[in-house]
Homo-oligomer: 347 residues x 2
């Protein structure tokens, strides 16, 4: 079996500050070209024109090499799913692929979706809690593109975007948090419910409505109008740190003398199932990998690399699994091979 | 940790014919002394007299050495439970211990309860399906005792016993069956229900009303009147072989191409939990040990001795667990040490 982790984008393989809880930080900037309708209102010809204009972007991004532009219509269905599973494109970007594209740069730390909801959506991913660093990189990419193109910008309102909630900075900052202890002590709904009052949105690992079996949550700002990029980041940083504090307290609680045995029992049982099951669904795998990751970070389970568990959560998704196996597979066969991949990787 | 299996009686450590499914065979003979009321109707003095008479039995059983007579009142509570867990005495024999006793001989293959429901209950245990052998041994023990004592016997009705169902041969023959495959394919109730129509009784591992978490069932004849010992054994043997056939067919079904993956998955998950749990109840341990025993016998799980699993089912019962640990333990502590003993033993 080949080293599957090499197929993952850089931010997923790496770790960063608070990397035990914060899987990654993402900055997304929505940008549109002046004088061309937003993709939802544009003609097929206009969309095609945007994609042609986008071809001038890769040369401008030389300092983020290697840079490649993929036309979605030319990307195989399985490859599209891989990009979704690594968060490099949205699920919507795989459908209706006319004139859609994506630019990938800097070991996939940078992606630019073309003709998604906006003409361009610049995204930067960093491992761990690195919103500032991700923002600085996104800003540099944005400047490099802006030097080539003419953005739709209004002195009063800022960057113009297809959806009104993005008008202004056009920025969405988000963090991907692994909160297994808060979930175990039944506090996660309460705590995440509280942050929505501060204008933050909470989603599952794969966006709105996706399950949270793995105790992974995406936290991001809702609106951008009337706030600076720094203001958005500062607030998300502050709230993230409060949640981190809550997660760390919950972890201490799980290790307290009266809870330790039950915690060890729960996490080791998950490890036992994960290293012995012969067939496992994606959902169950995520839940068990989440438990084992917590077990390693609590110092209860040894001999397993916590970062490997974070990678396995993505590697055991259907498209990655099929890439590893080198073939398309029916669901039952996927469950069997998922179990096999996990056993081989953890042993 | 000492070799705990040495504390088990011989029939539990050993294996016999059909030993993968038949854990053991037992013959029990109910005998009473002429001229003394059955224990339920006897005075305390009369019961004491029976126990005094019983003291002449061990010397008569020299050929089954080593022989020892235990007076239940002098046996510690924990030791009484050990005898129950190894099936050498009944649970009732641990209560109201006045003038109760038990004679143990031949590495506990032979036990004689004194002043249980009858004055004497001679029991012989053999591993595997060996009803004939157990009956021959029981008959020899019976002859040796009868040479010393005067049994209550009626030419018409045979041996007189406290309970009318035992009148006649006074014999109960039973087999202890592990039927995990029949249980997995939901056929066990159907098949065992059928045998009760042939006058057999079905009980759990520890008698009437005890749970069948471990898929272990005791099968025995209900009545003895009007049948010879050989007739009783022949019928039980025949019905046991039919059940064995059913269990073997169910095992083949579990290994068939369309079921094999699900079977492997189920049994390996049980193994994974068993070898990783940090706290486990007696009931759950029995159920998981049963699964793993099946896994070993199906050739799915390797590196584990199936006989060890059979022993662990008894060794993880409360009294044995406390004997192994050398101390009395509260239930939560028992669950922790049970998990620990199982992990240490299986690894």
């Amino acid at each position: 079996m080949r080293d599957v982790s090499q197929s993952l984008s850089g931010w997923m393989r790496g770790t960063g500050p608070e990397g035990d809880i914060v899987l990654g930080s993402r900055i997304r900037l929505a940008r549109n070209l002046k004088g061309i309708p937003f993709p939802g209102a544009a003609t097929r010809e206009q969309l095609k024109h945007v994609l042609q204009i986008a071809e001038s972007i890769p040369p401008a991004m030389n300092s983020f090499a290697p840079v490649r532009l993929l036309r979605m219509a030319e990307v195989e269905v399985l490859e599209r799913q891989l990009l979704v599973e690594e968060h490099l494109i949205s699920p919507e970007h795989t459908k209706n692929t006319h004139a859609k594209g994506v630019i990938l740069a800097k070991q996939d730390e940078v992606s630019v979706m073309i003709n998604e909801e906006d003409h361009f959506r610049i995204q930067v991913f960093h491992p761990g809690l690195q919103l500032d660093g991700a923002w600085r990189l996104a800003d540099t990419v944005d400047d490099a593109i802006e030097a080539q193109l003419d953005y739709a910008f209004d002195q009063e309102r800022g960057y113009l975007t297809a959806c009104p909630t993005n008008v202004g900075t056009g920025m969405r900052a988000s963090v991907m948090l692994h909160l297994p202890a808060l979930k175990l002590v039944n506090q996660v709904t309460h705590i995440l419910g509280a942050v929505t009052k501060f204008g933050l949105a909470v989603r599952g690992l794969y966006g709105e409505g996706s399950d949270t079996q793995a105790s992974i949550y995406q936290l991001s700002n809702q609106a951008t109008l009337g706030m600076s990029e720094e203001g958005i980041i500062e607030r998300l940083n502050r709230l993230t740190n409060q949640i981190l504090e809550g997660e760390r307290q919950a972890r201490e609680y799980l290790l307290s003398p009266q809870n330790r045995l039950a915690t060890e029992d729960r996490l080791y049982r998950s490890y036992g199932i994960l290293t012995n099951a012969r067939s496992i669904s994606g959902q169950e795998a995520m839940a068990l990998l989440s438990d084992v990751k917590l077990g390693v970070e609590l110092g209860i389970i040894t001999n397993v690399d916590a970062n490997l568990l974070k990678q396995l959560i993505v590697l055991t998704r259907p498209a990655h699994l099929q890439k590893v196996m080198g073939q398309e597979l029916p669901p039952e066969e996927r469950d069997r091979l998922r179990a096999s991949l996990i056993r081989d990787t953890l042993k």
